[in-house]
Symmetry: C2
Subunit: 558 residues, 2 copies
């Protein structure tokens, strides 16, 4: 058996270990484990904005899934030996920071803070820090506009500093007990290699750059003066944050004896610097300049890379512009939609039209697929979870417009799919407006793989060919690619991508007559987008319903 | 047994006969029969705008229900004798015109036109004539603005002339074969009294005045010059329309021997001049000056009467201002919402959230009742079937705004109820703006009787006491009141109302804290109403989602 690497992919509800043949990217075996704590791994409370994770699940998840995956690999491939595994890569959700003590141990592990939600990992989709995010944005706007210029002009409640400040305000005992805070993406590789103590810890440029306003150009994290203005103790913390930032082609250390024993692997193999799931997913999808990689799951991440020699202006509304955050040597661009699959899930799980069977994704998709673009007269805004790009505003909500007395669930389902496609187009338009040309789109994630209707709508709305990544586990595959480079199997990430990633045969081409209808519908979407999402709109919306009815009439007649 | 009268109430799906004691309004017996043709009495086609009825159902319906009601009365009251019935009143939907021949016989009865939808009765909710309604509105605006001033400024696709013109355009053979056209409300009393031939036919001021631009002030129906500009054959028809218009306190004739035999009643008893259901419903609810009567069913009709000596300006957006159309001697005002119960029915029948049991009116109401005003963050527009008053625009559609990933069906259901209440308040505000004071509200119809949650929301949104009519059959009761006056039991409609109508004991008082929240929500509703429903709005809607979230936060904290 040639050399293999393991990609460990920490998601919102579960963790996956994927064993990959570094020669060709073939996926040898994988195993998934759903976190034990909370509701499907997410600790909730009465506050609908709260979402936390227990770091014990991260440890148990590594052990359980790696062991199972190795077992699976042995069963399916007689030639496989655990000693064939030459490296490990890790991707996680983010920003998911956790408070740790002087030795890098999470406070959640201490009896004093057991079950205290603030001592847990603050999951990416925790929105408790909305007020703090506004405060940080306001201060940066006045004091350090350069910080915002690289993260779309608005600092998010999902991100590192908002969460820390909210902890300081609402759970001061936890904040005081924390020596420092570490992103989950950094903490897991550190824990596997015994480098979790702050003096040995290495951090990834991806988490720090995209979520914590870390940028080498201004000396790393935001400066103390800025942080003190938010809170004196946040200023104090500045000196205790780890600043040694690396790209994914660099190991953080070697697997410890103890962890080698637990996982059944060789001690001393390299563990790559961690990164966020969507960033390594882009790597695992074969991202290259000119190619937009869309990871479509509950939300989306939209990734591009730009050669360092391309003059790149600040792009308003983009979550992040971070050198080296995706592929080392290239500038990483991150955009995204706060909810995509989650909106369809809301409709299926909360509204459940017609009951569980009739209202399943499968049956709604089957019916929605038969509908012609525009024929329902419906138009929706994809803001049920706010808008990440390009409005960067969590305080936006969903809208469905155009209902009659005969509107069906399948029509609404399709309108929700279309709304997410219009949201995707808004991102593409923003990129191209700032001279980042989107030549090609590669999609990955469950929806891209399983729902051809969604992919066709996206092809028609974006008026571009939709391709789908060959792997179903692009994030874990990207982590395995990083591990392969760290293990010396390839010279660079692009070399490893060339050998280890690929596309599915089926592509989705735009259908000209659908493109024409969606062009009209997008004009109306953009009108609602600007009227409800910006302060710049200065007209009424009297035309919207009329135009939809006219489009409907045409669509039904055609 | 004292004198009784029968109210015959022709609805959208069924007809009801109600036998009423004229001394006290006590309902002795009643019987309902669902029309035999079409889907629950409505003939549909591929065109979602088409809705027709077969006049054979009107005849069979009279016979079936009167006979059954008499049977029921005999069973429940030994003293009852069919000879106690001293008169009949009739109410119907409208505008529901039907083409008839030289003798007043509906073309639908002729073999040549059997099953031809254009030869049927054109049911009130038929919207096939949208283009013709616009054409009539445009011409009247230029040529005869006075015609529009009494019907809200816009002539509706639901009304008499739109339907006739659409028939002329799309089914010219039917149009040519018709000697004249008669409203269902006029044709049924005529048929019972053998006066259906044009030379003996009497028409009601209610149907003619509210739907056919009939007004004694300008010489009855629209003049020939105006009609010719629409179509030469419509001009020709003008001379063949019956112009003898009466109020409901005047009989159109006496029950024929043939019909007396069929129904088991005495020949020669008077049959009152017909009127629309909501108008006679207002009579049966005890309408008087200062009292708004809301008939809440699939749609609503909102009725007021104004003393003839009150100076009444033209009120933009009101469906009709017609002297004598409700209570003789008073000016009748008609407003209405194009869909109320129909919107709730759409959600329950078409969306069926959670399946049939979970998504029933009963269980959604039970859950929605527990919610605090504003706590869902949702806001809806009640336009799934367009907007009758005050926008008079069928080309408007529904909207639901404010959804998150956790929005529940009960929250949506309540938002839909609230939307209809906001629509109701918009009508009240328009009336008061034109000095028609709404002191009191009496509700009638199934929803008013059966859904206290809806009534409480209405009390809170309208900030007025909601009363409910004592009778569950106000339309039929109103018809029986008219019959009692025609039979000489009372001198006038108000005298008969005093004796025969009443209110239920349970009243719904506004709850001050709810009133305060709904005041804020209504401001946002009105903003959307004007932004999407008028061309006068000149701002953006950026505040709407934010304000809803702020209201939600307050509501949840309180």
């Amino acid at each position: 058996m040639p050399a293999c690497t393991i990609g460990l992919d920490y998601g919102t509800n579960s963790v996956r270990a994927l064993i990959v043949n570094t020669a060709n990217g073939k996926e040898v075996a994988s195993a998934v484990w759903t976190y034990a704590h909370g509701t499907e791994g997410v600790i909730l409370s009465d506050d609908p904005n709260l979402a936390r994770q227990h770091p014990a699940d991260y440890l148990k998840g590594a052990e359980t899934t790696v062991k199972r995956a190795i077992g699976g690999a042995k069963r399916s491939l007689k030639s496989f030996d655990a000693a064939d595994v030459v490296g490990i890569g890790v991707d996680t959700t983010g920003s998911t920071p956790l408070p740790v003590d002087r030795r890098g141990l999470p406070l959640a592990f201490k009896p004093a803070f057991d079950n205290h939600p603030a001592a847990m990992a603050w999951l990416w989709k925790d929105h408790t820090a909305i007020d703090e995010a506004e405060e940080i944005t306001d201060l940066a706007r006045k004091m350090r506009p350069q910080y915002l210029a690289k993260c779309g002009g608005v600092y998010s409640s999902e991100w590192f500093w908002s969460k820390l400040l909210h902890c300081r305000r609402t759970a001061p005992k936890v904040f005081d007990a924390a020596y420092t805070w570490v992103e989950c993406a950094d903490w897991i590789p550190a824990m596997l290699t015994g480098t979790e103590a702050p003096e040995t810890l290495a951090i990834g440029v991806c988490p720090a750059g995209h979520k914590a306003m870390y940028n080498k150009a201004w000396g790393g994290y935001p400066d103390e003066k800025f942080l003190i203005r938010l809170d004196a103790k946040l200023g104090d913390l500045r000196a205790r944050l780890v600043e040694k930032a690396q790209t994914i082609d660099t190991p953080v250390g070697q697997l410890t004896d103890a962890w080698a024993g637990k996982l059944g692997l060789q001690a001393g193999i390299p563990v790559a610097t961690g990164a966020f799931d969507a960033h390594l997913g882009a790597v695992g999808s074969g991202i290259r300049p000119g190619t937009l990689v869309k990871t479509i799951g509950t939300s989306t991440c939209d990734m591009m890379i730009v050669p360092p020699n391309q003059k790149l202006p600040d792009i308003p509304g983009l979550c992040g512009i971070v050198p080296g955050s995706i592929v080392p040597g290239f500038i990483g661009l991150e955009a995204g939609q706060s909810a995509v699959g989650d909106i369809f899930n809301w409709f299926v799980n909360y509204i459940a039209p017609g009951g569980k069977t009739k209202g399943s994704h499968k049956s709604l998709t089957a019916e929605a697929e038969q509908l012609r673009p525009g024929a329902s007269g419906l138009l929706a805004l994809d803001w049920n979870n706010g808008n990440r790009t390009v409005l960067v505003d969590p305080r936006l909500t969903g809208m469905i417009l155009g209902q009659t007395l005969y509107t069906t669930p399948a029509e609404i389902y399709r309108a929700l799919v279309e709304a997410t496609a219009f949201g995707a187009l808004t991102i593409v338009n923003r990129l191209e407006q700032y001279h980042v040309e989107v030549k090609d789109v590669i999609n990955c994630g469950g929806i891209a793989e399983k729902n051809p209707m969604v992919m066709q709508v996206y092809a028609d709305v974006l008026n571009r060919t939709m391709r789908v990544s060959r792997s179903s586990q692009t994030c874990a595959l990207g982590a395995a690619v990083a591990a392969a480079v760290c293990a010396g199997q390839y010279q660079s990430i692009p070399d490893a991508q060339e050998a280890m990633t690929g596309l599915k045969k089926r592509v989705y081409e735009p259908i000209p007559e659908n493109v024409a209808v969606y062009k009209k519908l997008y004009t109306l979407y953009k009108q609602l987008h600007d009227a409800f999402g910006t302060t710049s709109w200065k007209g009424n919306c009297h035309n919207v319903m009329k135009d939809l009815l006219a489009i409907r009439t045409e669509a039904r007649a055609s």
